[in-house]
């Protein structure tokens, strides 16, 4: 099957003199596949996310190739769009429709002067989807789908009247309202409290499962990733240093950085008073990072992590 997203040798650099922040990464995402991207701040994971939908600022120089499959109303067409050379018009037609994105900061990501219901609804009209029963009913349905209470009142609220967790769920509703085949989630829960985070993760997981939708899920928190994705890439200083099924990565990390990350994420395993395991125990930062040249272009679509509801596509 044609992958939805095919990235090869992607390099991004900024500034003058040029400073490369992404050093040639390659991966692909198949329909229904859930791919995680983990890394610390400055590792290049957000740059990757923005590059995929062509949302990097004009100052970024992008080389390599990013191909998005172009579906029509009925499904795949076999056509692909090269993002690095596409026009704004071509990209805009895919964004928010077949491909959508959720960002980290819910407090500022909504237009403060527009009621949230309208912000969700205008994306329906934008991509020309005719909704039986009108867009208002679809908006309310969508808000219900992300587990918001009193959807009528929320739809008529301005963003500042909602809590952070509620705003993030509105943003998720916006991202999912056109039933995308792939959603890029860039640290969608980092700014949220743990209970709001749990809710958001539950909503996302349910949606991906019900719709057999794919995701590229970006986070710095290994524990969050473990519950959401099938396969994962570990990024470090603009390189992918490890990739594979999430269970295998967690059970048997190969790269020293990943080993450290897994060890330090199991805070609750250390006995109180005992020294906590750190990344530095496993990984020496002074050694130059070597990236994987090629992440397996077709990851085996593996069975899901045990204990999670639903089945794969």
């Amino acid at each position: 099957m044609t992958p939805l997203l095919q990235v090869s040798d992607l390099r991004v650099s900024f500034g003058r003199p040029r400073r490369e922040v992404l050093h040639g990464i390659s991966f692909s995402i198949a329909p229904g596949q859930r791919v995680g991207l983990i890394g610390e701040s400055g590792s290049g994971k957000s740059v990757t996310a923005l590059a995929v939908l062509g949302l990097l600022s004009e100052t970024a120089a992008v080389t390599g190739s990013i191909r998005l499959a172009v579906p029509d109303g009925d499904g795949p067409t076999g056509r692909q769009l090269e993002v690095t050379t596409a026009t704004e018009k071509q990209l805009a037609a895919l964004r928010g429709d077949a491909y959508s994105m959720i960002f980290q900061e819910p407090m500022t990501a909504l237009d403060p002067t527009m009621k949230v219901g309208r912000q969700v609804g205008e994306l329906l009209g934008l991509h020309g989807h005719r909704i039986p029963g009108g867009s208002r009913s679809r908006v309310l349905e969508m808000l219900r789908e992300v587990d918001l209470p009193e959807v009528g009142r929320i739809a008529d609220s301005y963003p500042h009247q909602l809590s952070g967790g509620q705003r993030q769920r509105v943003l998720i509703a916006m991202a999912l309202v056109n039933d995308p085949v792939l959603t890029i989630c860039d640290e969608p829960t980092t700014a949220l409290d743990v209970t709001a985070q749990a809710k958001v993760l539950q909503v996302l997981d349910r949606h991906f499962t019900q719709r057999s939708a794919a995701t590229l899920f970006i986070t710095h928190d290994l524990a969050v990733l473990a519950g959401v994705v099938d396969v994962a890439m570990v990024m470090l200083e603009g390189h992918v240093v490890e990739a594979g099924p999430i269970r295998e990565v967690l059970a048997d990390p190969w790269h020293p950085y990943t080993k450290g990350l897994v060890a330090t994420s199991r805070l609750e395993l250390a006995r109180p008073g005992e020294r906590l395991p750190t990344v530095a125990d496993h990984f020496d930062r002074s050694i130059p990072v070597q990236g994987l040249r090629e992440v397996p272009v077709s990851w085996e679509h593996r069975a899901r992590v045990p204990g999670r509801p639903g089945g794969g596509a």
């Binding site: 100052t59 895919l94 959508s100 237009d111 205008e122 994306l123 301005y158 916006m174």
Partner: protein, 327 residues
Amino acid sequence: MPPRVPLSVPLRLLQRLGVFVASVVVASLLVFLVASALPGNVAQVVLGVQATPEAVARLEQEFGLDRPWPVRYGAWFAGLLRFDLGRSYLTGQPVLDQVLPRLGVTSWLVGLAMVLALLVAVPLGMWAAVRRRHADGFLASALSQVGLAVPSFWLGILASLVFAVQLGWFPANGYVPLSAGFGPWARHLVLPVVALSAVQSAVLARYVRSATVEVLHEDYYRTARAGGWRTVQALLRHGLRNMSLSVVTVVGLQLATLLAGAIIIESVFALPGLGRLLLDAVAQRDLMVVQGVVLLLVVAVLAINALVDMSYALLDPRLRIERGQVR
């Protein structure tokens, strides 16, 4: 969701109205103190150094200038409440009688210049922001940068040099009221309005540009683009209303400088407006006229700014709620 107490819009408007009234009182006191209470004898200033003591005494008597300043201020302010700006020390004529016929000229000049400036500045500033990394956007920025550095009266002089003196398209000076016909009226106003608005458009265009650049960096703009709006669509749909808040503030604040500019442009084009009246009064040391006209202009600016603030309550939903969590 934490419960919030919505503050009624009328209450907010009333509060702003109170601030406006207080501001007018303070401003009038300020004007009065500078014009009439600075050390020195008002009658002496008005009549000049050669005036005989008898003449000075007569003037003081006639206008009650021998009273202490708080009393004089009280009398003046009481008059203001009845739309009485006082009487000229020189002619004894009510100041208002001199103001009224000139109000139209200045109002047209300032109003039209502001409208023209907005019509030029908003598209120019947005263009300069969106295309800021391209040659044309840079050119638009450079243009407003140059416009900002040019004195409006110099532009007026050059414009009358070229379009009035050399080409003869428009009259170089003078004014005809609108009642004398639209054509002549407009022909007399074209050059002054253009000269006055040119600098103003440059100022506004720069604000619009930076407000637009700010929107381009906002998360909600990125959200809109990720939702499938194209650059310009996202800007118009989600940026314009957010920008309008800061731009409207600037328009209010710029009004004061626009009035100052109008005074000088009236002088360049010999328009019989308030500026002309003011400068003539300064030349003749007619303090009551100066005091009255200055206060009139200041109150106009304060009033417009009060209206701008009140319009916020309608433009920005965050202000309709008391102490929302948004900064």
